[in-house]
């Protein structure tokens, strides 16, 4: 009983510590707050129900593996949706709304980001949003979340050498774009 409570408390602390970063990582991938929240919720549910008995040091990598898997599913659904949209030529009003929703600039109009007045932060958000998906996610998992190369490779379902390549390219691009602001 006590052990169960301890485990629940550990999971509570873990999720509380990770949820903000996880949300932002999902938001960079989806460029949509509600979709990002939904993906994070799925990942939380899955981790809490399926893997809470695993050692706590594994939770971070497990959580991001689940989240990345959810992000990939989301991208597949979006691709199908976009195909249908093209076939049925949905009205321009919807199209215009979605284009705005998907644009990197949209991130700056989010309430959470409106508070970020710092020019570097705004530009960083834009440049991260503009990176190719895998470079962006690898960079965030490695640099922000602190996953090692092997953990990132598992989460992203790619090889360790791909992780290194994506990381290096993302870093190079961000340096090119952001150095001028420094």
């Amino acid at each position: 009983m006590g052990r169960g409570q301890d485990s629940k408390q550990s999971m509570q602390n873990f999720l509380a510590g990770i949820e903000g970063r996880a949300f932002r990582i999902a938001q960079f991938a989806t460029r949509n707050r509600d979709d990002a929240l939904e993906l994070v919720q799925d990942a939380m549910m899955r981790l809490a129900h399926k893997y809470s008995d695993r050692p706590t040091e594994e939770w971070s990598a497990l959580f991001y593996s689940i989240l990345q898997s959810r992000i990939r599913d989301w991208q597949r659904r979006q691709a199908v949706r976009n195909r249908f949209r093209t076939w049925f030529a949905w009205n321009e009003e919807d199209e215009e709304y979605d284009v705005l929703e998907q644009s990197p600039a949209d991130a700056s109009s989010e309430p959470s980001i409106r508070l970020e007045n710092d020019q570097f932060m705004t530009r960083l958000n834009l440049e991260l949003g503009a990176l190719p998906h895998r470079q962006q996610q690898v960079f965030l998992l490695r640099v922000w979340e602190g996953l090692d190369i092997a953990q990132t490779a598992v989460a992203m379902q790619c090889s360790e050498s791909s992780v290194k390549t994506h990381h290096a390219r993302a870093l190079q691009k961000l340096r090119e774009k952001l150095e001028e602001l420094r």
Binding site: E19, F23, R24, E116, V143, L174
Partner: protein
């Protein structure tokens, strides 16, 4: 002046962290609600009562019942349909024979036919 990659990454990390600190109240409260929902312990049976499990189970059960009923409730031999089929062979034989058909209208003909068929069957049954 250029900084090292690790310093640059550190700067990015702290910038991103401050972005999380500045998350709006609504997002924060939604994240907290999601976390609490994820931590709610659900017993196994209540998870099995969700519709996502019941739809495939119901479909599988329906298909199984249909399959079983098809296997076990087929028309058995000696049913009225099969007897009619056997009798139709005899009727066709009578109709297409070149013999005189005057007897067909005579009721005694059918008495004779039954006796003839019974005699026909006896050797088969005996054998």
């Amino acid at each position: 002046m250029s900084i090292s990659d690790s310093e640059f990454e550190q700067e990015i990390r702290s910038t991103l962290e401050s972005g999380v600190t500045n998350l709006d109240a609504e997002t924060r409260s939604r994240l907290a609600a999601m976390r609490n929902r994820a931590l709610e312990h659900k017993p196994l049976w209540s998870r099995w009562l969700t519709i996502e499990h019941w739809i495939p189970l119901t479909a599988f059960a329906t298909i199984a019942v249909l399959a079983v009923s098809l296997v076990f409730f087929q028309p058995h031999q000696g049913s009225p349909e099969q007897i009619a089929l056997q009798d139709s062979d005899i009727a066709l034989e009578v109709l297409f024979s070149t013999d005189d058909h005057d007897d067909v209208g005579d009721p005694d003909f059918y008495v004779w036919l039954d006796m003839a068929m019974a005699e026909d069957e006896e050797p088969k049954n005996a054998g």
